[in-house]
Symmetry: C2
């Protein structure tokens, strides 16, 4: 490939974006220079950098690198072989500079999940036509090598499911609610105070960020074009402390799960709060950690966990991609030629699963019978029931159903809403067997 | 590289060994043919096979492949590009055929940990001089992609520690002892009856198999030549049910841990029963599962878990290596050129850690005081003490020490052995903070 010609002795990097991750990459390049050279078989040299403000003190020695104000100019410099985009954002200068780098025959490494979730197919095709790499390990789950594991290590497998906790902030909030017996809004405010949330918090708690990552993994898993628009997204905003406590009593934990699975009907991509067994690897993941379970027809389940964000882990992932390119290892962006990826046909989950229901019933004889009939008429059968002591008028009832389809569940919920005994909108949470 | 010339349209495989893993590889090649072609960008075709007995019914359609009785002949056939060695054993025909394949310019994929633990450096140098790949993901922890994660994804990190549970049989035995309240010898016999143990069980319970894997990981982690002889090995044969119960009471689980770490003094490689916190990812790994925690200066801790053995997982790992080679991705066997690997300088652990001690004391006034003095004179300080109700003459006492060096601990043990109050040989188990 043309790019490789430049790679004989030294791999020359242009890096745009000197935020947390960018600084981390510069630090690794400075402190582990010899180690990198031994492993990559050539020198890996940072040549030029770009960031919004040149004069900001970043606690880094940057004088030895060329400074370029415009990332597009940086990305197209003749003296770089690889452009590292750590600016962020789905469009704007991130998109412009990545596209420019590719069209100038530079390899690209990025941590930008939004960019690839939206423009991934177009950029992957461009990279392919120029025979350059476009790699993004750092965009999904920080330091956890899931892109490589899925696209390379598990390449012999038909992937049956990918399940992940991919947003550390949401997992932090859910974990803190349980630990501190605190409401969603209280923990949300604390997390905001600690700077854990994006400027637009719905990116985190609304499930957008996790869904960007899910869309990238689904493409690799199933050979489909990235389809962020096809992700069924529900955030954690409606999870109450009561749900957390009562599901825990029944052996479950609430997690914002990203799930993708392919059936004959099409591609299912869901980001939604789900219940998982407390003692499963996903159930036990705490705080800002991420976990991904990869499930394949040969390998069974492999799970990977670690820090999903932060300077060290994310810059470690960026460096892994850089070393790959230095070694001449350029896998297609989504694991197979971009031109061979097929359009995803989004489907809502058709797999029958158990559900958790929380109802608030009028406290009078026959109330529960009415609910039981509503479920029976929709052919939803009950696995477990718990009734808690009263709170004023309402008798809180928890039901865990047997496996049922979403269509049947919706039918049962309609019946329940129509009944005269249900006081509030029913809460339901999918139970993901894992 | 020369090997790559043959790889334009089809990658042609010769496979030797049709045991569990070999059959799994054939099944994947048959059922996932199209998927593999899409991902690898070329056809991956099994051309010829070899195994001890041609007429054995393996439940596989093998007629379409050439049959070759002699693996060395198979490995050197002009019509194969890659030789897959699934025979096993550290020498003999496995070694002869791998060496022959390399010298004929064939890539090699193997699941043979013993072979590489003993002859890895020689074979890696040979592969390098012939510009062919010698890959072994399946040799370590079955379907868990730890070789790739360590050698590629974490290539930007100075590795600070690798800790793993790498022998599923030992973990099964320890888990069953706890679950069933059963003695080591009882569970050992059951495991043998179930066919879980190697023909020579000391390979498993004596820690040899796990140490082969550890030696391979240590080489990748630290750029040292594989040094199996330098692994400090202790098996699980001396672990009693009492140790399991009493350490659990204190919040620990016994695991056969493989640990490698490098200091200025040299390379530490240990396989030994250790205590880990019950609620840590390693503490929670049950049955025949494997787990590896990779620790790097940037990434922090990443842990990978899954099935460490069996047809599906191990053949998945073999296929991952084959697809890599089909894609033209040939990383040095141990992550950097074999000629640049340095000799390992084995050291015993110099890191101070806490220890668990189980003593059996004479039941008389002043007995414990004598032990306390013995510890104090060796400068080992006590963190926690538990004394259990008597069993005949002896008073069982459990001590957890503060962090101390192995030298000080040995001094304390000598003092304890010399004392008049200790009835049995003291049992001590290292506590690994993870």
């Amino acid at each position: 490939m043309p790019g490789n010609k430049d790679l004989q002795g030294t791999l020359r990097i242009g890096l745009a974006g000197l935020g947390t991750v960018g600084r981390g990459v510069v630090r690794i390049l400075q402190k582990n220079q010899n180690l990198l050279q031994a492993r990559a078989g050539k020198r890996i040299e940072l040549v030029a950098v770009s960031a919004r403000s040149r004069n900001k003190d970043r606690g880094l020695e940057l004088e030895r690198y060329s400074w370029v104000d415009d990332p597009v100019e940086l990305a197209t410099r003749p003296d770089i072989d690889i452009y590292v985009e750590l600016i962020g954002g789905e469009g704007g200068v991130a998109l412009a500079s990545v596209a420019a780098a590719i069209s100038h025959g530079k390899h690209v490494v990025t941590a930008n999940k939004a960019l690839l979730a939206v423009h991934g197919q177009m950029l992957a095709e461009a990279a392919e036509s120029k025979c350059v790499g476009l790699r993004f390990e750092a965009a999904v789950a920080g330091g956890i090598p899931v892109v490589k594991a899925l696209g390379e290590s598990l390449a012999g497998n038909r992937i049956t499911r990918v399940v992940g906790v991919l947003n550390g902030t949401c997992n932090y909030i859910l974990t803190q609610m349980e630990r501190e017996d605190a409401s969603y809004s209280k923990v949300f405010s604390e997390a905001q105070g600690l700077g854990y949330l994006e400027a637009d918090p719905t990116l985190d708690v609304g499930g957008i960020d996790a869904s960007h990552k899910l869309a990238l993994l689904a493409s690799i898993a199933y050979g489909t074009q990235v389809d962020f628009a096809g992700v069924d997204i529900q955030g954690i905003e409606r999870i109450s402390l009561r749900d957390i406590e009562q599901t825990r009593d029944m052996g479950y934990r609430v997690k914002l799960l990203c799930v993708t699975r392919q059936s004959e009907d099409g591609l299912e991509q869901r980001t939604q709060p789900c219940l998982v067994p407390c003692n499963s690897p996903i159930g036990m993941i705490e705080g800002a950690m991420n976990i991904i379970v990869l499930e394949g027809d040969s390998v069974g389940q492999v799970s990977l966990q670690g820090s999903g964000a932060g300077e060290g882990p994310t810059s470690s992932a960026v460096m892994g991609d850089i070393v790959d390119i230095a070694r001449g290892h350029v896998v297609s962006t989504f694991g197979q030629p971009a031109s061979s990826l097929v359009s995803a046909r989004p489907v809502r989950s058709a797999v029958p699963v158990p559900y958790y229901l929380r109802l608030s019933l009028v406290d009078r004889p026959g109330a529960f019978a009415e609910i039981a009939l509503a479920l029976a008429s929709a052919e939803v059968s009950i696995d477990r029931i718990r009734q808690y002591s009263h709170e004023g008028e309402a008798a809180p009832v928890i039901i865990v159903t047997h496996e049922t389809t979403r269509t049947r569940l919706d039918g049962a919920l309609d019946e329940i809403r129509k009944s005269s005994v249900c006081l509030d909108e029913p809460v339901f949470i999918r139970i993901e067997e894992i």
